[in-house]
């Protein structure tokens, strides 16, 4: 039998030297799509039992403990982040713990590509692709949001003041990478976040 094997959509793209932020792909992260209702106490308790911490309930927030992080996507959807090799077993744990509730847990590690954007200009580069105002006070570490970025569906998290993880569907990874190469080209700095 053939073993499933991960192949990055961005494997052939080296780290760029032409941009004023650094860009690299994160390939070691596993992702689990977890669905169930926030209002379903049994589901919330079962998820907590597996994770050891509560699923985030407030919109656009995340919770984490150790190497597991949970992103809020909707009142009935979360994205659980963990080590790639751990995802299948963690998804199975969720499935077992929630088998008596209306819930779903699927390993979707290959569904999205993750691009880490780092540097003082990371927020500015994001602003070039979407309608959000990253100077807003809401945009603190841990912030999660799905948004239309460069005309495609994307999800981003603010890791720290100068680091953003951008999640795009795998088939759009090269397009998003090309967009970022242009949006962050050296010489195109706006300087919106200089010294912030």
């Amino acid at each position: 039998m053939l073993e499933p094997r991960f192949e990055s959509a961005l494997a052939l793209r080296g780290e760029p030297t032409t941009t004023y932020v650094s860009m690299r792909e994160i390939t070691t992260r596993g992702m689990i799509d977890l669905r169930g209702l926030t209002s379903d106490r049994k589901f919330m308790a079962a998820a907590k039992a597996v994770l050891g911490f509560d699923l985030p309930k407030a919109p656009r927030t995340s919770n984490s403990f150790g190497d597991v992080k949970v992103l809020w996507l909707s009142p009935d959807q979360w994205l659980v982040l963990c080590a790639r090799e751990k995802a299948p077993s963690l998804a199975a744990e969720f499935a077992k713990a929630t088998e008596n509730t209306h819930a779903l847990a699927v390993d979707v590690s290959d569904m999205r590509s993750i691009i880490r954007i780092e540097g003082e200009g990371s927020r500015e580069v994001m602003m070039k692709g979407c309608s959000l105002d990253f100077t807003d006070a809401d945009f603190t570490p841990g912030y999660v949001r799905r948004v239309r970025f460069a005309e495609i569906a994307a999800l981003f998290t603010i890791v720290d003041a100068s680091t953003i993880d951008l999640y795009v569907f795998r088939s759009y990874a090269n397009y998003a990478w090309d967009f970022l190469l242009k949006a962050a080209r050296k010489g195109s700095e706006v300087g919106l976040f200089n010294g912030r």
Binding site: P59, R60, S74, P75, Q77, S131, R148
Partner: protein
Amino acid sequence: MLLVTCPVCHASGDETDFHFGGQAHVARPATSNPEGISDEQQREYLFTRINPKGLHFERVRCDRGCGKWFHAARDTMTMEFKAFYGITELPPDHVIKQAKGAWAEYFTMRMKKQK
């Protein structure tokens, strides 16, 4: 550019982050009476829509956000949003009071049903 606020996740964003879903509160007659609907009723359901100048009620999806459908009350002349409310809800009372014509008739009928 219209600014929309989702009543589910409370995200405000450009209209490009949302998806327009046509007229609100269209009831499918076959849901309550699958055997007895007439061609006229089905035609009304599929094709006949209200097209008012002024206050209008529409469906919107938080397309790039939480993914949920909701309702918006919008003035078709000024493009001003009067309210955003849940997909299973009726608009706030003060907005219903401003409805005219076919919408006023519709909400009067819904209020009677609720009682």
